[in-house]
Subunit: 478 residues, 2 copies
Amino acid sequence: MMGKRNDRNINVKSSKGPNKNQFTIFTRDLRLNKPVPQKVIFDESASLKSVENLVKQSLGIDFKPVLFHNGKKIEDVDEIIKILEQKNGNSFDVRRNVNLAKLKYLRGRQETVTEFPFGVIVVKDEPIKEVRKKIEEVAINFSLQALTDPARAGFRIPSRSADNVGYEEDLKMMLMGNQFIDRTFRSLSSVQSVAQFSEMMRLVYNVLNESIHVTKRDLFYQNVSIFNKDQRISDGLIEDMGAALQVTRNSLNVIASAKGVVLGRLSFTEKGDLIDCSKGVGGRSITPMLDLVDNFESDAEFVLLIEKDAVFNRLAEDRFFDYLPSIIITAKGQPDLATRAFVKRLRNELQIPILGFMDADPYGLEILRVYTIGSKAMSLETSELAVTDIKWLGLLPSDLEKYEIPSDALLDLSEQDIKRCESMLREDFVKARPRWKEELELMLKMDKKAEIQALSSKHLRFMTNEYLPLKIDSNDWI
Amino acid sequence: MMGKRNDRNINVKSSKGPNKNQFTIFTRDLRLNKPVPQKVIFDESASLKSVENLVKQSLGIDFKPVLFHNGKKIEDVDEIIKILEQKNGNSFDVRRNVNLAKLKYLRGRQETVTEFPFGVIVVKDEPIKEVRKKIEEVAINFSLQALTDPARAGFRIPSRSADNVGYEEDLKMMLMGNQFIDRTFRSLSSVQSVAQFSEMMRLVYNVLNESIHVTKRDLFYQNVSIFNKDQRISDGLIEDMGAALQVTRNSLNVIASAKGVVLGRLSFTEKGDLIDCSKGVGGRSITPMLDLVDNFESDAEFVLLIEKDAVFNRLAEDRFFDYLPSIIITAKGQPDLATRAFVKRLRNELQIPILGFMDADPYGLEILRVYTIGSKAMSLETSELAVTDIKWLGLLPSDLEKYEIPSDALLDLSEQDIKRCESMLREDFVKARPRWKEELELMLKMDKKAEIQALSSKHLRFMTNEYLPLKIDSNDWI
């Protein structure tokens, strides 16, 4: 191997020292805002470790460095020499080595809940075939009932009223209780409801037969008059139908607008086409037609769930996922159903941890809560959406002092913020997470909040090259 | 060729007729909601044209049919036989043949405006190197002025007040006039302004040196105190700076949130990585870092600009762009800067027409207006954003009768709608487009509006398989 190296004609000017077997590279410390390249000279006998030591000395850094070239991590000295031969320049970037070992402890399948406690209703994702069978069963039962006991013929539907929704402590999810409503022919208003409900079943049955996806609005337009020209009626019926059949809205092929974007070390198929998320900076738009998505593959160590797309763009441009093997996702604020379901599937199918990266304010924590335990509005579907073991990586209120964020970049809590903090402190999901509770209490005590972008006030790449690596390296998630 | 066919062992049950050289396929008319497969038998001597005639007879349709298999268009009879051999099934989809000839007349480069009329200020996209040079020039001029005539030292900045913005008839764009404001050291408030402006120039200069992209908020956080802890101040300075240097905000590497998604017959590079937009259903999220996007390639005949993502999803699932070679884009409502700039680049670099597909209501037309002539808020950048020759394809108010949209699916105009219509009718950009004016007047006369999804009330695939093909085939854009 050594002999081979001597034969190579190294075409880099700076490599022609008095000793022909010497190599010179320029390294930039990427933690700084204005990195100044430092010259590092080593000879052919050097190992990667000894080169790293030379880099450490020349840059005067106090951590184990890792070399990168064009965003790609250098694995051995031969790679450096190959790059010098390719005339791609002799400039290498230096980053902090991050220990990912502790992340591996977070791996593994999320506990699958098969038994739900008495008094709780959940719906499941089901394949089209199953859903069609269920619709047929309900229709047959209804017809039989209409023949034998017409006064009682109708449907039983879970109540969607607020007092039928609650946080279930053992499962750590926001779930729906088992209060039911009967829709029968007894009263005139119910006659209409039953007719509307039957029509909605027919429409959805057609959609499933066609194997296409529709929106609530599409279904409304299928028969405007029967729904009294009021989409709230048809929307409610779709919810009722999911509840009655115990399937998710997605299983009815009814989709909603999706805002999520994904980028990083992930590939999957969409309707059979391979989608590689590791390319470029724009990211893949997460489709709401999630049943067309399949075959997840990834060598990422974690998923970084990001509140804002400005932060997503910063990490995309820095190719953060080439530095720390990861998948980055943002729903641009409060997450939609598709993004939540997508994250849940990543958690289950890749079995890697999900780390939340939100603003250090009550709104950021509310977003994290929706990903983690679900929302009241969609409590029926929580079991297919909530990722109960999401870790809160940042921005923690305690990070503000720890990472010396300038006080100029912090904002005062508003009265509204204080109320939200106090209200969350009373919630079971916070009580069940003592360290989250501590952070919330600290926020109140400091009377300060901060956006993730406050990290920019240190320098523009502080987040990518210092904050996140240090957080991960020190296992500083809660 | 004929001899060869006889040698083939056709493993499709239905092809074993009394005559061994007969083939049977099943065709479905995709225009219908519940397509019933029809059996079509032909022998080895058949041409594609004769098969199409048999299909026409068996389905009883009145148009030239085109056969598809798994979304791929059939080009000759050999392809059909190959598919039968592959045991992929013997079911073929039938669609209307669409004449795309007239679309080609709309091709060609958009008139590039090099001379702007006196009294109008525009800014341009410029490469980083140019912008840095401009910043250096402004800084040097300012220093010289401070030495020779300190009382007048300062910057000239175009006024962003409403009366300095207007529609320019010849160029068909919303542009900024040449009223200027002087920011000098004369008054105390100006001293602060000049200090803030200098600081912003320094910050942006650093960003350009680093070759990274930042948000307005990032820049604010770089020096919160000099901007009096008020982001409106730093935001205004960024606008001023673009105006003073006569470059777009994007050229300053200052980006904003982007919502756009693109799918279809298009590929490009992002930071050197090849992005193929023809795969899957989710689409590529349009990056706001558009200077990293390059090398557009496409065999599309047109770009379909869609108001809503629900419509985008329907066309994505139907793989509309495999049927009619196209690129589909949505900004999910009012377009952001990045999506507008992306569409402008597609128009210029691919030289294919852009067809707008909006709701038939005043809001839909307002969205189309922003794409077409620009917005008041971003009038300074209009020349890099406005695509003045966008065609309004649909949903035209006149389509409602022409395509027999059920009256149930139409909505009454609100008072607000009527006001918006009347206000738009007074605008120069509508006056300059007599057929747009007619449609607006028709909307007022009918006193009805309609969403694109109203097409679903015909049947769920009416939009993909009937409405859009008929519109394109009959050149029904204005």
